[in-house]
């Protein structure tokens, strides 16, 4: 009889072995996840809105895009591709303070920089314009689905951060608009990115008020709402917990993702 050797092994025995293997694998998996979370935290791959039911997707998106796109440049276009006229999205009614500054030709407009910097400072528009001006012809795309291409003129944020001297423990730049409750933040990878501009001009002219003039932060690798209009204040920090609800911006507090590279 040659068959008996092929009699199936007892299912119970096999299942026990399988159970032990599964248990070990599960333990290893959980431990692995813990280590992965540690490493991700260390290398700045965890977004401030990582908790909650959408935390998994957000963390995966932010971590993978950070790893893939830390130094990549947003696509630039030719002058002939500039949208004419550029579409200006709806803005909130302008505040009295804004109107007063506007009446004075924005000469009193100030951008203050504070937080983890060696030399906190306040810049007038003329001071910002005294730095070598840079241009980029990039697309602004809204999370709603529309988009336009414009030439943006300004000074890279990294230039101003160099002037004030960012401390080594800095991790985020939080930026505020003159409009109430309008603020966002970006990580240092985006803050020192060569295309992240303090923008004061558009298509060869001043930046129109409808597009955030006199000063707008341009973050071309993220969608529109991270490009805050009417910029008045920057704070460099190592932790977003002290700002608002700790989610890193008005958009995440309003239910939108903190990281908007997608």
């Amino acid at each position: 009889m040659s068959e008996p050797s092929r009699v199936e092994p007892s299912p119970r025995k096999l299942s026990r072995r399988k159970l032990i293997t599964t248990g070990l694998a599960a333990t290893a998996g959980v431990a692995g996840l813990g280590v992965a979370a540690r490493i991700a935290q260390k290398y700045g791959l965890v977004p401030p809105d990582h908790s909650g039911i959408y935390g998994l997707g957000e963390t995966l998106t932010y971590a993978s895009q950070r790893l893939l796109t830390r130094h990549s440049l947003a696509r630039e276009f030719s002058r002939s591709q500039i949208s004419k006229p550029p579409f200006a999205n709806e803005i909130e009614p302008l505040t009295d303070e804004f109107k007063r500054l506007q009446a004075g030709g924005f000469t009193d407009w100030r951008l203050s920089v504070s937080g983890m910097v060696a030399r906190p400072a306040s810049f007038s528009l003329d001071q910002l314009k005294s730095y070598p001006s840079h241009t980029q012809i990039t697309m602004l795309q809204c999370e709603e689905g529309w988009s336009y291409i414009a030439e943006w003129i300004g000074v890279p944020l990294s230039q101003v951060l160099d002037v004030v001297g960012v401390l080594p423990q800095a991790r985020y730049v939080v930026y505020f608009s003159i409009e109430p409750d309008t603020w966002e933040s970006i990580d240092m990878a985006d803050a020192v990115h060569p295309q992240t501009f303090l923008t004061y001009g558009m298509n060869g002219d001043q930046l129109p008020v409808g597009h955030g003039g006199p000063l707008r932060l341009r973050v071309p690798r993220q969608v529109g709402y991270k490009n805050v209009k009417f910029l008045t204040h920057l704070t460099v920090t190592d932790n977003l917990k002290g700002f608002g609800k700790g989610l890193g911006g008005a958009s995440p507090e309003g239910g939108y993702a903190w990281y908007a590279g997608i």
């Binding site: 092929r6 199936e8 299942s15 959408y54 949208s83 999370e143 988009s147 993220q222």
Partner: protein, 307 residues
């Protein structure tokens, strides 16, 4: 029935060799084992593990007398196929709902790089929008739902992509694509093909064989969805991400621009919805209960004659 056997009934811990012998309710005595051991000639021995599904991976019921009229059950879909199928179903539903919500914020479509309220459209969907500025012709604006919709859309996308990768890797490893989805040689003649189409056009109920294996139209459709539509919808989706295309500009340049990618994403999604509707209709026509049972429990009843 002991717990492990109970679990085994659902095929997760399917033993090598013969699977379903353990799904037998009466206690298995030595006699029963011997009865099974040199297998009855009708039962094909297929080495099957938990991720396998084979028509021949069938049951050996060691009933005391073959006269006992027990309808046999046999495995139809492997645990891998069932689990990934239902995760995909859940994700697809989440992607569809959130995708519709996102479109509502700007139900206008364009071709090329850019498009907005000031530029001509390729086409518009005649629905109200959730934003004031969009000229829809409606006197009201729907509530903004883009926050949670975008969160949900990207999370579901991650889950479905990772599930798809698992399915692809295991499917290649187990020969699922070659065995279950690649059309059989015999199916590829025009006669077979046209008869399959004619049967579908007559809304004929599928025969017994189709409870065990896919027909040629099913195979081609599933392969098209898995290897053409899903990759396309992922590609066109990624091509809309400003950060992703900064690292891989070809993904959007090859499609003709960011707005073209958005329009294509919309059409591929429509194709997937069309597939879903036909898929549900077909399941309904073939017998909703039995097909659902096969995709949930992994087993389908064999008619008694086959025992």
């Amino acid at each position: 029935m002991p717990l492990l056997q109970r679990i085994n009934r659902y095929g997760f811990l399917r033993n090598r060799g013969r699977a379903a012998a353990i799904s037998v309710d009466p206690p298995q005595g030595t006699a029963a084992h011997q009865r099974c051991s040199p297998l009855p000639p009708r039962v094909r021995i297929v080495r099957a593990t938990w991720y396998h599904s084979r028509v021949g991976d069938s049951v050996c019921i060691p009933s005391a007398a073959s006269a006992v009229p027990t309808a046999t059950v046999a495995s139809r879909h492997s645990a891998l196929v069932r689990v990934t199928h239902w995760i995909t179903t859940l994700c697809f539903f989440a992607l569809l709902v959130s995708g519709v919500e996102i479109v509502i914020s700007h139900p206008r479509f364009y071709w090329g790089e850019t498009g907005n309220d000031l530029t001509p459209t390729l086409f518009k969907i005649p629905i109200p929008a959730s934003r004031h500025l969009v000229p829809t012709g409606y006197g009201y604006v729907l509530p903004d739902a883009n926050g949670w919709s975008r969160y949900l859309h990207f999370q579901a996308a991650w889950v479905v992509v990772l599930t798809g990768l698992l399915y692809l890797i295991c499917g290649l490893f187990t020969g699922h694509f070659g065995n279950d989805l690649l059309p059989r040689k015999a199916d590829l003649s025009w006669r077979e093909f046209s008869s399959a189409i004619a049967k579908h056009l007559r809304f004929e109920r599928p025969g017994e064989a189709e409870a065990w294996s896919y027909n040629v139209l099913q195979r081609i459709t599933y392969l098209f969805v898995i290897f053409v539509l899903f990759p396309l919808v992922i590609w066109t989706g990624l091509a809309m991400s400003p950060a992703f295309v900064s690292a891989f500009p070809a993904t959007v340049n090859m499609l003709g621009g960011q707005q073209s990618a958005r329009t294509l994403h919309f059409f591929v999604s429509l194709a997937l919805v069309l597939f879903l509707l036909v898929h549900i209709l077909m399941v309904w026509l073939a017998g909703f209960k039995s097909r659902m049972r096969a995709m949930i429990t992994g087993r389908a009843a064999k008619s008694m004659e086959r025992t």
